[in-house]
Amino acid sequence: MSVVQIAVGRRRRQRRRALITGILALLVVAVYAASLMIGQTFYSPTEVWAVMLGQTVPGASFTVGELRLPRATLGLLAGLAFGMAGTTFQTMLRNPLASPDIIGITSGASAAAVFGIIVLSLNETAVSMLALGGALLTATAIYLLSHRGGFTGTRLILIGIGVAAMLDSAITYVLSRAAAWDLQTAMQWLTGSLNGATWGTVAPLALACLVAVPAMLVQGRALGVLRLGDDSATALGVRVGPTRIVLIVGAVVLLAFATAAAGPIAFVAFMAGPIAARLVGPGASPLLPAALVGAALVLAADLIGQFAFDTRYPVGVVTGVLGAPYLVYLLIRTNRSGGSL
């Protein structure tokens, strides 16, 4: 096979990835636009566009500008963050179960938030900060616990699942002692919701994305080499330790800020990576496609939760309904192929 044929094969795979990534980006833009237009009152694209340009449109300026725009933007950014963070963990640990919502990092954020709301009666900003701290602390604890005498992905996953179970039971305990009026707020921290999003909730997450996303995308190729295992990656000139730290810290920051802003939107981090991998094929950096899939999932699920039924459901309920069967499917498939965790 000649150079030309190899180039043709490689470029064909690359074009396919670029095309599908492009389609995903368009899809995200489309759902984002739909989230701005659809509601109790429908606003045309022209009206929405006018509001985004800062013009005053009667009615739309408030509904779109103050309600729908922060909500949709929160959905977009949280989806991006969850998707990218999830696929980073899954790729680095070479296991689709190694998603941050399975291994307890989001549980850490939820537990801290629920504790803040019910026991400490903190305000919204303080609760978000506490959730951030909870996620970072849990991630560090899981990493340290699983690092004794060498590092294996499976041990980290098992310890993470254990930590998640402990934190979840702590949440349940705190909830059982809660006053009825606190429960409403606390529930958001268990399922994840875009309700009541303001620019104040969006801003910290936007800042986190601005810092972490480029830093992680730059490591995309190194992440691709890390998938060959630490030894091969070192032999190929990747600084395994620093690369891994940049990616893990970036992912935990994204995850923590997204959870602090929108709650742990169930299973988005878990589903986005595998869906993206299936769409763009293996061999490419999964970061960007997974982020786009995450954003599309959250925005679409929020639209469904708000308008598809008589009752309005928070976005996390919809993604949970989609994600849980996928988890079961994955476990069955792992079992069939004779693999362990």
């Binding site: 490689r10 691709g224 060959l228 070192t234």
Partner: protein, 285 residues
């Protein structure tokens, strides 16, 4: 192309935790030759190879590439001179052969740069040299063990290093594929002058394919030199604790080790087991 790169270990001590595996070892890899490290299980030969490849930091001492300590050099720069094929590398699920081999170009590429014409040419050559060109668009997980090993070697070739380290490249392969891989590495050594260093379990294949042998026991090099000079019945007893007959290999002329076990040995009968220094004849201490 003749390589002028040198790889040397100086007063090297390697440990896992508190347990020293290799102690105060000096060794120089002959440039442009095929070197095989042999020794019993757990003698420290793989550990030594890992240290030569900078996968394991020395407790004391250092590994020198062209006279400079490995840990003082940027890892990406090392990766342009020194390649490694680990014992059981993992391929990402579903990756195409050409894309996997293309990963070998990583040390030659800038962070966000696209592939150059040269990258394509090198990958094509690596595939051709390993006879895997017709597999280029196939997923790696669909290949047989022998094909897969050739693809990994192709990746190492695409890295274009003058020194290539391999940790037991023939493990899990049947005998014909073992020969195929070792022939391929010999071709590479002869055509490009690549310095090859590998750990092999099979002493007879080591004797046949090596230009230079390091025999390791208890973390020390107990013999070093051409196989014909080094591989003797005494050495086999010393390194493997095994009684053996060493004859010239009728095919290659290199030493052929024929172990004498406790069974299936024709006359003259095997010499009795060497008396143990401790322990009474009835087995009680």
């Amino acid at each position: 192309m003749t390589t002028t790169h040198t790889l040397r270990a100086e007063a090297l001590t390697l440990s896992y935790g508190d347990r020293p595996v290799v102690a105060d070892l000096d060794l120089e890899i002959p440039p442009g030759r095929i070197t095989v490290i042999v020794g019993a299980n757990g003698c420290g030969k793989s550990t030594l190879l890992r240290a030569l490849a900078r996968l394991l930091a020395p407790t004391t001492g250092q590994v020198l590439l062209d006279g400079a300590a490995l840990r003082s050099l940027p890892t990406k720069e090392i990766a342009r001179t020194l390649g490694l094929l680990p014992q059981s590398p993992t391929a990402p699920e579903g990756i195409a052969v050409a894309d996997l081999v293309g990963r070998g170009r990583h040390p030659h590429q800038r962070m966000l740069a696209r592939w150059s014409e040269n990258d394509y040419a090198v990958v094509a050559q690596a595939l051709a040299d390993t006879g895997t060109a017709e597999l280029a668009d196939r997923p790696v997980d669909e290949l047989s063990g022998g094909q897969r090993q050739r693809v990994w070697i192709a990746m190492a070739l695409a890295q274009e290093t003058d020194i290539l380290l391999l940790d037991e490249p023939t493990t899990f392969l049947d005998v014909s594929h073992q020969i195929e891989v070792l022939d391929l590495l010999t071709d590479l050594n002869r055509a490009r002058g690549t310095t090859i260093v590998m750990v092999l379990h099979d002493i007879n294949l080591a004797a046949r394919y090596a230009d230079h042998v390091f025999a390791v026991r208890g973390g020390r090099v107990v013999a070093s030199g051409a196989p014909a000079e080094v591989i003797t019945a005494d050495l086999i007893r010393d390194v493997f604790d095994l009684d053996a007959l060493v004859v010239p290999d009728p095919v290659s002329g290199s030493p052929l080790v024929l172990p004498r076990g406790r069974h299936h040995v024709q006359s003259p009968p095997a010499p009795p087991l060497p008396p143990t220094s401790s322990g009474a004849p009835d087995g009680t201490p």
